[in-house]
């Protein structure tokens, strides 16, 4: 099978998964109790006209989908309605136009708020991923190379402990330490910094980023170390490493030219699978450090029962993870020539 077909198949699969998430996201908020919009409409103090007006405003006067007037409580309805005039299709159409509804709390479009916050999360996860991958790989390579020495045992023990730390708790501990060492405690920038020169602004952001990124790095580094180590030990016990050694290559050359690329393959898979967990870490870290990203958007939306915000943030996170997964999959195809002919 050639490369284009493999990529096309993966694209199709990702699109399908995104569609699944959209459906899930829509129905979760219709099936489960607790949507404030409907709860508000049921308020007995509201006049009938006001209720009707709100229903029209939130689009609740339309059936959820063909045959169902409402899902919680379940009310059957006519199946002979124009599918394009149901809540579900209006939701999908709005999504396609980039509409995610209006936040209850700020009364601003959710899409607008999230697009501001998306980049802060990308910044945090990006920096954290880069550091944890680099450090984890370095430590893993080192541990594998010096396998069964005290250096190796030390690296493995450190990684196991790092893996066992609850992300938010490590964040709290570091915040505690940072608070007495002059680090900023919350947010992304000191208020009033925007009037300062650009370089100083960046320095300020970097200072704010230090503790969240450190938390992130420690938590994910452990896992990357362990995977890199076991993967590299596997590769280094392959016959072709003995061939390389017999060819007179130095240990460094063997690692660089023969082992690392092959050992990277499992790591890439894990990085891809991890992206979901990574977001979990980001939510916790952003909650602890009040970092204005998607994670804290979720955190705040839960606190304020701001459901359009919660729905939008979840959708955006899920779609981002699916796309990142797809990209990691592509990297895998590119790293391993054998995938092409399968």
């Amino acid at each position: 099978m050639n490369r284009t077909r493999i990529i096309l198949r993966k694209v199709a699969w990702s699109v399908f998964t995104i569609f699944f998430v959209i459906i899930l996201n829509f129905f979760l908020f219709r099936v489960l109790p607790g949507d404030a919009a409907r709860a508000g409409i049921r308020d007995p103090r509201l006049k009938k006209e006001a209720v009707e007006m709100l229903r029209v405003r939130f689009g609740l006067d339309k059936p959820v989908i063909n045959c169902f007037e409402s899902l919680n409580p379940i009310e059957l309805g006519s199946c002979n309605v124009n599918p394009l005039d149901t809540q579900f299709f209006i939701y999908v159409r709005n999504l396609l136009q980039g509409e995610l509804g209006v936040s209850y709390h700020t009364n601003r479009p959710v899409a607008e708020i999230l697009s501001e916050r998306l980049w802060n999360t990308v910044l945090l996860i990006g920096a954290g991923q880069i550091f944890s991958i680099i450090l984890g790989m370095a430590l893993g390579v080192f541990a594998a190379w010096k396998a069964r020495t005290y250096l190796d045992y030390g690296a493995v023990a450190t990684s196991l402990i790092a893996w066992s730390l609850p992300t938010f708790w490590l964040g709290i501990i570091l915040l505690f330490w940072g608070s007495s060492n002059g680090f900023p405690l919350a947010g992304k920038a000191t208020p009033g910094m925007s009037s300062m020169p650009l370089l100083q602004q960046w320095g300020d952001i970097a200072r704010h980023m230090f503790l969240p990124t450190l938390t992130y790095t420690i938590v994910y580094m452990g896992e990357y170390t362990l995977i890199m180590r076991s993967s590299l030990v596997d590769v280094l016990s392959e016959d072709y490493i003995l061939t390389a050694k017999a060819k007179g290559l130095s240990a460094f050359q063997i690692l660089k030219d023969h082992a690392l690329r092959n050992a990277m393959l499992p790591l890439v898979t894990v990085i891809a699978i991890n992206l979901g967990f990574t977001v979990a870490g980001a939510i916790q870290i952003e909650a602890v450090f009040s970092w204005p990203g998607l994670g804290s958007a979720i955190f705040e939306a839960v606190e304020r029962r701001d459901f359009p915000m919660l729905q939008g943030a979840f959708l955006l996170i899920a779609v981002a993870v699916i796309i990142a997964n797809f990209l990691a999959d592509l990297t895998y195809t590119w790293l391993d020539p054998r995938v092409q002919v399968e």
Partner: protein, 654 residues
């Protein structure tokens, strides 16, 4: 692991199985530590009312908020004036309960999905695995947050949400294990005799999937505990109970940070770390039982070479191109007696000569060859003897000096059927690499042409140069390895069973190729094989090894016409002779000795048709026979020996 499984299959009582398991498990120090940590915290949770000095959620005094640890409150007090230690002890109950029950749900769902997908295959598998893939990609904590936020945050809801979203990896792991077990012989046999599906799953597949399910469960429990604490911290916990996460939520949200009350923040999280770390270590121990890994690899240095002779002893100078003097090699594993893989082996090789190194598998041939290039695995150690190459003692060189001799002086051809070529680099690239390494002055632009020339030499067309090893056939890979071995014009080539696993036609081609290269390029070759017939045509000298020692060493004519060692004679009988087509072939009953259980006397004695009493008690020394360097280690070859070799009369004709 195989051994434990077999014994556990025989002993069906649970106690016996557990005993067998424990005997293996206790060897893993990390596993035992983890289990200890886990059991400790479970006991704390069970006996919470006895351990906790204060009641559950008992406010001691509202004015006693955020008191630092003291004699009354060893973990201090929290925002509500409650004893942190007591809450910690009761919190263990909540956190562990949620973790275990949620994981139970996940394991049941994942286990059923995996079993059904793996066992039934087809549409079921397709549907379930696609669904698993989708659920695997959707980030779980955000989804949990959404669901818990939309429902009531009660303990039961949290257990179900975590449980219902945590099964994906289990389903995958169980499916692949089921697939692996399904095609095993005993399952196929059960199917063939018409056993029902239910019977096969419950009696044959489940027992084999169970161990992996247990390891998976340990991981799932720890993830569930981490998820519960994160949810509780994010404000989605059951506010009426106080899990460790909930304690942190209250402390963090109610000013512990600004009050400097580290104790309210540190201890609850420490509980989570304790349990998760315990589970992780326990899981590592289980893994070690199920899937023992040696954790050794080719970059680990072997043990330093030593020599028995006095430090100031002068080596006997060597005139030959390659000369091995009294080489002995042990494999040393901690807690075990060293395995004497090679003992007191000597041979020499001159330019253009071909030495056949013959013996069954497990006789130390490969170990000897790896030792020549100082490539022994980490447990290997040269315990005596020297290796001379052009008068230089290779056993005295350091790694850097040795690297210069590898490939440019002595190169080695491994079995190409194995994974001797790097799968992610093109064959041409791997050949070029050797040239760049050893001949740095070689003009870069001329290297592709040189690689093509080398491939041409072994009969591989130029357009295969930039192909990957998986695009080559087995014979081509073997020839590519030979081309690679020739890349730096070495004087000696070691061919380590290069024709095993190849079909007869290809075997003949490869042999012919090596022989012609020897004549054309004046190479000296050590040809390792377990088949005397293979080397009969082309070699000059033959070294027969048995159980790590020299059985016989002589010119090829002597070996074929006047073999003295019964092992050589038996080997000769084991291959067909074209001049005597009616002659019966015979094989030698039994196997070479295990290196950790060598017989007391001659290593061949247990299988030797001519063995007598002395052979079982005394190891024969090397006896020189005649003047042409014919050596045999057999009591029968002793000078003046009168014991006739009646039963194994050597053939007189070739």
């Amino acid at each position: 692991m195989q051994a434990t499984l077999q014994t556990s299959e025989q002993n069906n009582s649970l106690a016996a199985r557990l005993l067998v398991f424990w005997r293996v498990f206790k060897k893993s120090r990390t596993g035992v530590i983890g289990l200890g940590m886990l059991v400790f915290m479970i006991l704390v949770a069970i006996f919470a009312p006895l351990i906790a000095p204060y009641g559950r959620l008992e406010t001691i005094s509202v004015s006693d908020i955020y008191r630092p640890p003291n004699a009354l409150h060893i973990f201090g007090t929290d925002d509500a004036g409650q004893d942190v230690f007591s809450n910690f002890v009761y919190g263990a109950r909540i956190s562990l309960t949620v973790g275990f029950f949620a994981a139970f749900i996940s394991i049941i769902i994942g286990g059923i999905f995996g079993l059904v997908a793996g066992f039934f295959g087809g549409r079921w598998e397709n549907f379930l695995m696609r669904f698993t893939d989708i659920m695997l990609v959707i980030p779980d904590l955000p989804l949990m947050v959404v669901i818990v936020a939309l429902t009531k945050p009660s303990l039961l809801n949290i257990i179900f949400v975590i449980g219902l979203l945590g099964w994906t990896t289990t389903a995958r792991v169980v499916r692949s294990q089921t697939l692996a077990v399904k095609s095993r012989k005993f399952v196929l046999r059960a199917r063939a005799i018409g056993a029902g599906r239910g019977h096969i799953v419950s009696r044959h597949i489940l027992p084999m999937v169970m161990p992996i399910l247990v390891v998976q469960a340990v991981l799932v429990i720890s993830l569930a505990i981490l998820n519960e604490s994160a949810l509780a911290f994010l404000g989605l916990g059951d506010p009426t109970t106080l899990s460790w996460g909930q304690m942190l939520n209250y402390a963090f949200g109610r000013g512990a940070m600004s009050a400097g009350a580290w104790w309210a923040l540190v201890f609850p999280g420490f509980g989570v770390v304790w349990v998760v770390l315990g589970l992780t270590l326990f899981g590592q121990g289980l893994e070690q039982v199920l899937n023992p890994r040696l954790d050794t690899h080719h970059l680990m240095p072997s043990r330093p070479n030593v020599r028995k002779e006095a430090a100031n002893a002068k080596p006997i100078p060597s005139q030959a191109l390659l000369e091995v003097q009294n080489l002995s090699i042990h494999y040393v594993n901690e807690g075990q007696l060293p395995a004497r893989a090679v003992e007191n082996v000597s041979f020499s090789l001159n330019e253009g000569e071909l030495l056949g190194l013959v013996g069954e598998s497990g006789c130390g041939k490969t170990t000897l060859m790896l030792a020549l290039l100082q490539l022994l695995p980490s447990a290997g150690q040269i315990v005596d003897g020297r290796v001379f190459f052009k008068g230089v003692d290779l056993t005295a060189l350091n790694e850097e000096e040795m690297n210069k001799i590898r490939w440019s002086g002595i190169s080695i051809v491994f079995q190409g059927a194995m994974n001797a070529l790097n799968p992610v680099r093109t064959v041409g690239d791997q050949i070029a690499e050797a040239i760049i390494r050893h001949i740095p002055t070689y003009p870069r632009e001329a290297i592709p042409a040189r690689v093509t020339e080398l491939l041409d030499l072994v009969g591989i067309a130029a357009d295969h140069r930039d192909h990957f090893p998986h695009q080559y056939s087995g014979g081509m890979r073997q020839r590519a390895l030979i081309a690679m071995a020739l890349a730096c014009n070495p004087q000696v080539i070691i061919a380590d069973e290069p024709t095993t696993a190849l079909d007869v036609m290809i075997q003949a081609q490869i042999l012919e190729l090596l022989d012609s290269l020897r004549k054309k390029l004046g190479l000296a070759i050590v040809f390792v094989t377990h088949d005397l017939g293979v080397v009969a045509e082309m070699c000059d000298k033959v070294l027969v090894m048995y159980g790590g020692v020299t059985a016989e060493y002589a010119d090829v004519d002597v070996i074929y016409n006047d073999a003295k060692h019964p092992y050589t004679v038996e080997l000769l009988k084991a291959f067909p002779d074209l001049t005597k087509p009616k002659k019966k072939l015979s094989s030698i009953p039994g196997y070479p000795p295990r290196l950790d259980a060598l017989p007391a006397g001659c290593r061949f004695a247990p299988r030797c048709p001519a063995a007598f009493d002395r052979c079982h008690t005394q190891q024969p020394s090397l006896h020189r026979i005649g003047t042409h360097g014919h050596i045999a280690s057999c009591h029968l070859a002793e000078v003046g020996s009168t014991v006739p070799l009646r039963r194994i009369a050597p053939r007189t004709q070739k």
